[in-house]
């Protein structure tokens, strides 16, 4: 085991080896059936280096991210455990992080989380005991110092590759790179951004990121995804918090004949991947295809990002897993 690595996972190894990384988001099932998770993972596992398990995204309830991660590691997949600050306080979160690490999770993405009002149960109590930066720093303390936030010692600290989100596409634009600097200082090793549909704006942002030297301190993965039609685009930019889609892209989809819209949406996504790949400081892409998982493989393939490297093995656990002393599970 190489002690320079902070985690035992594949994503960190792919990124540190200088390869262009690909991660993808798994749409969590509204079900108690593990097979639905495995089916969704099956189409993603061969085409990416990490599968994001979302934590009640859009404030909608689905199978929990920690449970999805447990199912995925059991099958040898490499999940990215998303933790949002909306639903749990510091006591619950630190416990979940330990539990996830114990089950073989190597990556954690720390998020503020969409507000409860974005979902279908707006009557819920919002927690937000931490913000994302405090969450990052807390998990970093657990990993590097082997302590809970209270100072109490951990017998075995979690080995985790820490992620944070960034949204360069919403105000205050000038401050966004500094916000990123804060997240990296707090402990982020990799960044996954919000959907990028505005490449010129993203270029401006990355210029500032490079000026601040941030691209050398963390790996930046750009969020991308296909749009099914101009209606989807319109819905996303008005209803989904933080998504910015320029008029030109909506217009391009509107002009496309109906039967070719899906193809065109995919085309746009591939073009954006190819454009951001050329920007200095970009280390990978994060594909989010809400209810269009079947397109993820095609997009990654058409963007020329296959086959994925097999560093650290196809599975998540680079170190031998301890077996249960009694039943050998």
């Amino acid at each position: 085991m190489n002690s320079e690595y902070k985690s035992d996972g594949r994503l960190e190894r792919v990124l540190r080896s200088g390869r262009f990384a690909v991660t993808a988001e798994l749409n969590p099932p509204d079900s108690a059936d593990p097979d639905e998770v495995y089916q969704a993972a099956l189409v993603l596992s061969e085409v990416c280096d990490g599968i994001n398990a979302t934590d009640g995204s859009g404030a909608h309830c689905h199978m929990s991210s920690v449970a999805i991660c447990a199912l995925l590691t059991r099958a040898g997949y490499a999940p990215i455990f998303q933790v949002s600050c909306r639903d749990r306080n510091r006591i619950a979160i630190q416990g979940d992080v330990l539990g996830a690490a114990a089950m073989g999770v190597s990556n954690v993405l720390c998020l503020t989380g969409d507000d409860v009002t974005a979902g279908d149960q707006p009557q819920a109590k919002r927690v937000f005991d931490f913000d994302s930066i405090q969450l990052l720093r807390t998990i970093k303390i657990m990993r590097d110092e082997g302590k809970f936030l209270s100072g109490r010692k951990l017998t075995t600290p979690p080995r985790l590759f820490l992620g944070a989100a960034s949204n360069p596409f919403v105000p205050p634009f000038d401050w966004r790179p500094y916000r990123l600097a804060k997240k990296i200082e707090a402990g982020a090793d990799f960044i996954q951004s919000q959907y990028c549909f505005d490449v010129p704006r993203f270029r401006q942002f990355m210029q500032k990121v490079r000026d601040l030297g941030l691209h050398e301190k963390a790996f930046f993965l750009v969020g991308v995804g296909p749009l099914r039609s101009e209606k989807t685009a319109e819905f996303m930019r008005t209803k989904v918090p933080g998504v910015h889609i320029p008029d030109a892209i909506v217009e391009r989809l509107r002009k496309t004949p109906k039967e070719k819209k899906v193809e065109e949406g995919k085309r746009i996504c591939v073009e954006i991947i190819q454009q951001v790949r050329e920007i200095e400081g970009v280390s990978g892409v994060h594909v989010m295809a809400y209810r269009q998982e079947e397109l993820v493989a095609e997009i990654i393939s058409e963007a020329g990002l296959l086959p994925r490297p097999r560093i650290g093995g196809p599975v998540n656990n680079a170190r031998p897993r301890r077996t249960h002393p009694v039943n050998g599970v």
Binding site: C85, R86, R90, T112, G113, D114, D115, T117, A118, R126, F128, D129, F130, D131, S132, I133, Q134, R137, T138, I141, E145, K147, F148, L149, S150, G151, A165, S166, N167, V170, P171, P172, D174, W175, Y178, R179, A181, K182, E185, A186, Q194, D211, L212, G213, P241, G242, H244
Partner: protein, 165 residues
Amino acid sequence: MKFGQQLQRYPHFLERTYQLTYHLFKKLDPLIARIGYDRVDGWLRGPEDFAKRVVFDCHMCGQCILHSTGMTCSMSCPKNLRNGPCGGVRANGHCEVKPEMPCVWVQAYNRSLDMTVYGDELLNIQPPVNRQLEGSSAWINMLTGQDKAVPKAWPQMDIIPLAEK
């Protein structure tokens, strides 16, 4: 609220007022200590709550960082964020949760640009909130040092070294 909004247009004036009050309290510290922090806390709560509510829409978290956040109360952010804006800010700079309200952090950033004394403190990493201090006087907590008391494992001072500013 109107009066407060007028005053908030002068962040530099407000930070100077904060600075002055800070030094005043530091001067009065021995006297307050003799009377008893708890007793003065009882007297101060009401007036402090009123004054800060009128000007800043204060939420009495008891560990005031107004001067570090552009003289804008970060606790009036519906998500209580202490370290900057979430990713849900609308294109017009308004809040994701309350569409009619300008984002607290967009305002904080703009105001911090006019603040020559504490403006740069916007870049500091703020520790988790101590929820036990809610409702108590932040000025007294400043004197007793409770507002700066961080969880045991949290680093004491957190300033970001930036390559360029």
